[in-house]
């Protein structure tokens, strides 16, 4: 690799992009103009909102002439009730009770005593009245409400005097009705304002009554707390809001900023015919990819930072002005020191996004096709960005191993100032991100080495023709794409199966099922789906089913070796499972689900039957699919370990709970390795069977309980088992057949530089 060439390509691409007005506008100019414009329009809208009046209909109000605090004075609420200027905007329309037909019929709008027909009539009349006077909320005072309220203290006193002599409940305070409609913001605002005023009025009525009966004020408002904010001055203003908004904005723009240049640099260059000339120059494909990657990275980084700064400045100005306008806002400008740290964290993120976008863009044959890929990219990234937004999410080992999510949490902790305690997680986050970067770049380079991708022509595609092609030109073993399709198909069909045959998804549902249908729905049906899909694809789309499914006989001794390996590795597998359980806490629902599953399984007639259901069936069906069809298809890409890792990922995704997924992933790695090394699926079936059988047989042993309680496998068992496992794995490593098969396919892409 020549650094000189990478620099040359990088500089040319930079110059090229900087001369492209569309890219510059989208990536650099738009954000800089966007936020100030947003800020300006915010003020416009805020102004509009502040001046918005509410109109409220008041039915049946009667002045109490001093016996109670006044609620209404003329067409407004009484002055002492209005806490701030906003409340001056509430206009009232007073309507006497007699005006309403339903009152004349002796009906109240109070919901309790009306049948549905009456209620409909009452509500309709009130709604009509509100519409006539353009009111957004209404208060209904029942007939004689104010009279009864005024006489209430006396009636209560009479009741109290008779206390002990009568069973009668104390008299009730009559209830007015607040009628509202929150279907629009305007109406909801009126409701909120009226609600506040009424509460204040009610509290004043109560206090007046206490004063008159010489009772302590404590009875109405027991204790009031003074509040004091402990956060430091500079933290107090903002952090919670900014620490959520800024990482989100930063990452979304990092994706967008990487995407558009990537499309122009790859698909655009293909379209303009300049890529072919570049490929005939001495620059190697890795150099071309890296040169382009750095360009895209710069754009991704600068776009994100520009957005961040523009947003921070605009946000800051808006917040200060809001404060000057005496609007209560707890948010100030974001602290600039944290922006600096965010910028540093952004570097690996933009590298990650850039490599993904570059690979996608290389795949697209035209810029138009490339544009279509933006949505899928956003759809995949968005959940990863939003997942850590949950209030309970905190930077821990579990989160730091999830790409993008770990970064978001790291950014948040920097902004919230908790990085002082959480800094050790910087390493797993960085490792995860860099690993993803590495795979992203490898993928992008691979795209540049594939002839069918570089010289794809815009041919018309139709489903029928494609299926015909799949069948007519089927090869001895499945293709890479078919393998992925098989994995995805299994996932989708299993998903629909869950709803169509009513697979129990809660502990209660499992308990309610008879044993036979439990087995049918949770084990037999999913296994049948997996087996059916993989066998159907094998016989339809490959010429040599026995090679696709790797049905050839394995090397001697590899079957017992695989069985032994399964037992030897079991302690380690359990330890890993416990570690995962520690990192990603199992939700209680999932926990009880697993328990119910175990319990139900206990109803089986004979232990050997349980072993058939839980060990033999999954071992056969899942191995045919994942280590058979899928793995041999994935291996066509030439990279042995990539095939193993990808097949394990698909295998893991077919499980529902994250603990099972992690478990299945590790299991998949071992099984994939066995399949590749032994060149046969039988050792995998043996291993898988032994693994599941061991899990079932040991689930009731005191040893397992001990492990679960102490969270560690007894040291010597773990150590001995692992040592034995390493020895067996070494034996598998020395088996040759795996490498010969992989070598032929792997030769071509590596030779092309």
């Amino acid at each position: 690799m020549s650094l000189q060439n990478i620099k040359l390509i990088f500089r040319r691409e930079m110059r090229d992009q900087l001369r492209d007005r569309r890219t510059l506008f989208m990536i650099l100019v738009l954000p800089v103009l966007f936020y100030p414009l947003l800020g300006i329009s915010f003020f416009q809208i805020a102004q509009f909102l502040r001046e918005h009046p509410s109109k409220v209909l008041i039915i049946g109000y009667a002045s109490t002439e001093g016996s109670l605090p006044e609620l209404v004075s003329q067409d407004q609420f009484a002055q002492p009730l209005r806490e701030n200027a906003k409340m001056d905007k509430v206009q009232l329309k007073l309507v006497p009770l007699e005006k309403l037909a339903f009152v004349r019929d002796g009906l109240w709008p109070d919901s309790g005593e009306l049948n549905s027909e009456q209620a409909a009539i009452v509500h309709m009349q009130i709604r009509l009245l509100m519409r006539r006077y353009h009111c957004e909320a209404a208060i209904f005072f029942p007939p004689d409400f104010f009279k009864e309220l005024g006489e209430y203290p006396n009636r209560f006193r009479d009741h109290a005097r008779l206390a002990g002599q009568t069973e009668q409940a104390p008299p009730e305070v009559p209830r007015p009705v607040l009628l509202y409609d929150n279907s629009s913001d305007k109406k909801a605002l009126a409701h909120a304002r009226v609600d506040r005023i009424l509460r204040k009025w009610s509290s004043e009525v109560g206090q007046k009554s206490l004063r008159e009966s010489n009772l302590s004020q404590l009875a109405a408002q027991p204790i009031e707390f003074n509040q004091f904010d402990l956060a430091k001055e500079e933290d107090r203003i903002n952090t919670s809001l900014w620490s959520k908004i800024l990482p989100f904005v930063l990452l979304i723009w990092a994706v967008t900023g990487a995407f558009y240049p990537a499309i122009d640099l790859c698909a655009g260059e293909k379209e303009r015919g300049t890529l072919e000339t570049l490929l005939t120059s001495p620059a190697r494909r890795v150099e071309i990819v890296l040169g382009k990657l750095f360009t895209i990275m710069i754009f991704s980084f600068v776009t994100a930072i520009l957005n961040l700064v523009a947003m921070a400045i605009t946000g800051g100005i808006v917040m200060t002005q809001l404060k000057e306008l005496a609007v209560k806002a707890d948010v100030g400008p974001p602290p600039f020191t944290s922006i600096f740290y965010l910028a540093i964290i952004l570097i690996p993120v933009s590298a990650l996004f850039s490599s993904v976008c570059l690979g996608l863009a290389a795949f697209a044959r035209s810029t138009k096709e490339g544009q279509y890929y933006l949505m899928p990219v956003i759809l995949v990234t968005l959940p990863l960005i939003l997942l850590p937004m949950a209030p309970s999410a905190e930077l821990d080992l579990g989160f730091s191993l999830i790409p993008v999510s770990g970064i978001v949490l790291l950014m948040r902790s920097v902004m919230e100032g908790t990085i002082g305690q959480l800094w050790p997680y910087v390493f797993p986050v960085a490792a995860t991100t860099l690993l993803c970067c590495y795979f992203g770049i490898r993928w992008a380079v691979d795209q540049f080495r594939r002839e069918e991708v570089l010289f794809r022509e815009g041919e018309r595609w139709d489903l029928g023709g494609w299926l015909k092609h799949l069948y007519r030109d089927r090869q001895p073993t499945p293709s890479f794409a078919l393998a992925i399709l098989c994995g995805v198909l299994i996932l989708i069909v299993k998903f629909f199966l869950t709803s169509s045959i009513d697979v129990p998804t809660s502990a209660a549902a499992i308990k309610a099922l008879p044993f036979s249908s439990f087995i049918l729905r949770t084990i037999l049906a999913p296994m049948a789906v997996i087996l059916a899909i993989s066998l159907a694809m094998t016989f339809l789309f490959t010429k040599s089913p026995s090679r696709s499914l790797q049905l050839g006989l394995p090397k001697r001794l590899s079957l017992p070796a695989a069985c032994l390996l399964a037992v030897a590795l079991y302690p380690l597998a359990t330890a890993l499972q416990l570690l995962v359980a520690k990192m990603y806490a199992l939700p209680p629902a999932a926990h009880s689900l697993l328990e119910a599953f175990q319990e139900k399984l206990g109803e089986v007639g004979a232990p050997w039957m349980a072993i058939v259901f839980i060990a033999l069936l999954p071992a056969l069906c899942e191995e045919f699919a994942y280590r058979g069809f899928i793995l041999s298809g994935l291996r066509r890409s030439g990279h042995r370990w990539r095939a193993i890792v990808l097949s394990s990922l698909l295998f893991a995704l077919a499980h529902s709970i994250i603990q099972q997924q992690a478990n299945a992933f590790f299991l998949g790695l071992i099984l994939g390795y066995l399949a590749v090394q032994a060149g046969s699926i039988w050792p995998c079936i043996a291993y898988h069977f032994m693994h599941n059988a061991t899990a079932y047989l040991t689930s009731d042993l005191p040893l397992t309980k001990q492990i679960l309680e102490n969270n560690v496998y007894t040291g010597s068992v773990l150590f001995g088992g692992t040592l034995l496992a390493i020895a067996i794995l070494y034996w598998f490593h020395s088996l040759r057949c795996g490498r010969e098969a992989g070598g032929a396919a792997g030769a071509s892409p590596d030779a092309l530089t």
């Binding site: 390509i9 110059r15 015919g273 000339t277 570049l278 490929l279 120059s281 007519r472």
Partner: protein, 264 residues
């Protein structure tokens, strides 16, 4: 290895075969094992209708595509084993010209010169010379997007010559050029031949091939139907001119293929 006598082939192609998968038609054979040689100071023409496999052959020679089987060497370097050296030996001009829209003629040529590792002083000197030779001085600072096809093709040739390669490959380079520009391009090619370059030229236009090529290979559906100098071919096949010869050969080949094609 690279130093060989002028009579030894500069390009040696042996049983080159290329297959690829096609959605509609299944496994396709783009090249069915072609062989030819080209020597320095010679213009070698690949003549054939569209889809004959000319572009595929030239792309394999320029190491952009990998052959399915067979070998080829350029100036002694193997295209599969030493692709990087091979790329130093050739200048590639395609029908699409491959000129960057947002770069000037000067910048484009300079960029490729640097990629070939030419030091600045030599590069400046050579660029002055080539821009003079090709009469490109007035389009020096014109952006690619504003150039006519003829101008672009000149830039493309300048780019292909900048590292003074012994081999220049022109893939349908005259496509889309007007008569005047095509003529001047042909003059440029003649001059390059005089300099002792080995030139591989693909086209489907008889006139150009007749004027320019020392030897031609007539291609059809991945096969070479005939190779030789124009005089030899005319004599051998008793044809009055190139166009008749070409037509006869292709129709004959089509005739032979027909029963096979229908049985597909």
């Amino acid at each position: 290895m690279a130093q060989q006598g002028s009579s030894a082939p500069m390009i040696h192609v042996h049983q080159l075969r290329k297959e690829y998968a096609d959605f509609k038609r299944g496994e396709q054979i783009a090249l069915a094992g072609i062989s030819f040689d080209a020597t320095p100071g010679e213009v070698f023409g690949l003549l054939g209708p569209n889809g004959a496999g000319k572009t595929t052959a030239l792309r394999i020679l320029s190491t952009v595509l990998q052959p399915t089987s067979g070998t080829a060497t350029v100036n002694g370097y193997d295209i599969v084993k030493e692709p990087s050296q091979v790329r130093h030996q050739i200048g590639f001009v395609s029908a699409g010209t491959g000129v960057y829209d947002r770069m000037t003629a000067w910048e484009t040529v300079e960029y490729f010169g640097r990629l070939y590792g030419i030091d600045d002083e030599t590069l400046q000197h050579r660029m002055q010379k080539i821009f003079g030779q090709l009469q490109m001085d007035e389009i020096r600072d014109v952006l690619g997007v504003k150039m006519s096809t003829g101008m672009k093709q000149k830039v493309s040739i300048a780019r292909a010559m900048i590292h003074e390669p012994p081999v220049i490959i022109l893939d349908e380079a005259t496509a889309g050029l007007d008569v005047l520009v095509a003529r001047s391009l042909i003059e440029i090619i003649s001059r390059l031949r005089e300099q002792g370059k080995c030139i591989v030229f693909s086209s489907h236009i008889m006139r150009e091939v007749e004027r320019l090529c020392d030897r031609v290979a007539i291609m059809h559906r991945g096969h070479i139907l005939a190779t030789g100098t124009i005089a030899e071919l005319q004599q051998q096949y008793q044809a009055a001119d190139m166009e008749d010869l070409f037509y006869d050969l292709i129709s004959e080949a089509e005739e032979k293929l027909r029963p096979k094609t229908t049985s597909f």
